[in-house]
Symmetry: C2
Subunit: 401 residues, 2 copies
């Protein structure tokens, strides 16, 4: 006869169960993912990085999207700081930063959205996320190679983000003022992460003042207790707006934000916050999971009516690897066994669908059935960022036991 | 023994072969499509039309997109003028026009992109296609119910379109000036059709001056003989731009434009132009056809590298019904037997995939396999326009024999 105690594995055993994954994630990072970008993305003629890369790493388009330049500089700086001081990683970070510094900004210090291969501005600085990743890049680079000019670029860009944050679309904002004033989840979510990334530069006191504000935005404004989910857009006062924007769920965004919050909870030694973030994360995964074909949907409508996004049912790389990070952290910090179960389910889905058996780097875009929709390894949105960051975070989190 | 003459059916027989379809398309229009919109889209409280309609016609969102308001006014006016003077059609057109007139424009006469149900502006007039369909709507309404104010709205809007045409995005244009100056195919394509729609109002002389300019744009600038296809974006001088925008193919757009050109060719009695448009249309269908699952792709990259549009492989209602119009016209005007073959192939695909066996109106969005991706019958882009216009055009074209 099996007792209920025997059925419920003790937490420590279960934790041991995930330890085995640590080396797999670390090896994938070091043997496949970072080498892919080192080999294929460097533009040795013009500087900077190509990110539109075919399955085998060959370049299919030469435009340079500033947020992906920033993310790749951040990535190699971060790996240098956290894994090993490899010269080729430092060189790669400096190579990207040099191009960004030369060509990336307009006269007011706003970061362009995209440039030609040789650095001419193509698309105006309409998107504040270019600035977010630029500040992360230069803050990370300044940590491994302190230079006053890197520090200044990071801090000036960060101050500019704060200045623009409440109307960051500026002249490109198409919303008619006053009729339906919504605020969007993306910026507070990224600020959660940015505040920690910039602590060296901003100083702990400023970060400590900043943290409660972003936590409040994420956990009390965008999180809607009545629905148990985080919405992408709410009215200025935090209330629900019954419109396409207001009903939009972006499960990947919400899941990613929950590991940022868990990181903040760990820093604040706030177990209640960690448990809450973990629980919202699990609920979001359940809400976003495709029971028919597996994988997490890209977009959903909270009332179940048709979303506007035609790509709603696709399975995207970043959603799945961010979920794995959140589950690894959630499991380690709370011991909630649902985290382990979901980690294993999403691990199996991710490795059997996104990993390319033939070439380094993973696929980014699958259709609902999990078949490759676009064979690219990098493009306008996919660069050297989510996968390496996630592989590092997961291996680091799991090997800590 | 069968001779080659016996194998090649005479054109007249083959033409007879498509006549059978005329009544099917006409019945679908009169028994299903127009009744669906009459029953479900009228907002009897605020005026105007709901277009976000579920599979059964129930309303799932109440925002009003101005181009769909204009298209529905155009549709009921056009059917009244061309099929039968049904009072309910006239009432429907007036009902929509009244709402548009009251709430649709800013102080400069630009048409907003969207309004709330009760007519408050939501999204600024960033999109000139709202204006294109507004001018079409009021021109069509003025034909069936001549009123100076309708005529004036149509002509003022048309003049405003011409004034804005070379920089219609205005302040919302995100392209950095000078680096990569591209022009887009959409506006010249619509102007082809608009010029004929507005002939009553503009006068034949002005239309006659206008026609050669738009034909030249479509057939000599955006059509690229070296590739045998129409590109969505070219450099100002008509040359090919090797970038995501420059490589973009939108087969549905090109196919639709070819029946506008065939209409202009008929008016000009220019058989060479008609044959050329027909031949480009067939080549575009061949290039866009999905040999694996059937149907025409939404977007392709002319060099075969990954397109930026994640929805590239979806099968959209308008692409398929516009292809059927183009093929019916091509067949009737040229006798090219490939038009008949493709008509029958796309007819079979369309009726077996887009038509809903349970409710009136057709589905709009299928995945690559031809399964329903979104069950909506109307939304932000799908309204009372492409299907009824196509059903009318096809039945009219085929019954002329």
């Amino acid at each position: 006869m099996i007792t209920s105690q025997q059925l419920e594995k003790p937490i420590s055993d279960a934790r041991d169960g995930l330890v085995q994954y640590a080396s797999l994630y670390r090896d994938e990072l070091l043997q496949n993912i970072l080498p892919f970008w080192l080999e294929h993305s460097k533009d040795t003629v013009n500087g900077g990085f190509y990110t539109c890369l075919n399955r085998d790493g060959s370049v299919y388009d030469t435009d340079k999207f500033m947020w992906l330049q920033g993310r790749e500089v951040w990535c190699f700086s971060y790996m240098y700081a956290n894994i090993a001081q490899k010269q080729e990683w430092l060189d790669m970070a400096l190579h990207g930063a040099d191009f960004m510094e030369k060509y990336g900004r307009d006269k007011e210090g706003n970061w362009y959205f995209s440039l030609t291969a040789d650095g001419k501005p193509l698309v105006q600085p309409y998107n504040i996320f270019s600035d977010c990743f630029a500040t992360m890049a230069f803050a990370a680079l300044n940590k491994i190679k302190p230079e006053e000019r890197y520090r200044k670029i990071a801090i000036d860009t960060f101050e500019n983000i704060l200045k623009r944050q409440h109307n960051w679309k500026g002249i490109y904002n198409k919303a008619y003022p006053g009729t339906r004033s919504l605020k969007n989840f993306s910026l507070p979510m990224i600020l959660c992460n940015l505040s920690l990334e910039l602590e060296d530069i901003l100083g702990s006191q400023r970060v400590n003042e900043f943290i409660p504000i972003v936590i409040n935005e994420v956990m009390n404004v965008f999180y809607q207790p009545a629905r148990g989910l985080i919405l992408e857009n709410v009215y200025e006062d935090g209330s629900f707006c019954d419109s396409h924007e207001g009903r939009l769920l972006n499960p990947g965004h919400a899941i990613e934000a929950m590991w940022f919050i868990m990181d903040l909870g760990k820093r604040l030694n706030d177990q209640v916050l960690i448990e809450k973030a973990c629980s919202i994360m699990i609920d979001t995964i359940k809400a976003g999971w495709d029971a028919e074909y597996g994988g997490i949907f890209y977009f959903l409508d909270v009332k179940g009516v048709p979303p506007q996004q035609l790509e709603w049912d696709q399975k995207l790389w970043w959603v799945h690897v961010e979920a794995l990070v959140a589950l690894a952290k959630g499991y380690t910090l709370t011991g909630n066994d649902q985290c382990r179960e979901w980690f294993e389910r999403i691990h199996n889905y991710t490795w059997s669908h996104f990993k390319d058996p033939q070439y380094k780097e993973w696929f980014g875009y699958l259709n609902r059935r999990g078949e490759v929709l676009l064979p690219l390894k990098g493009g306008k949105w996919k660069g050297c960022f989510h996968i390496p960051r996630a592989l590092y975070q997961i291996s680091k989190t799991l090997e800590m036991h």
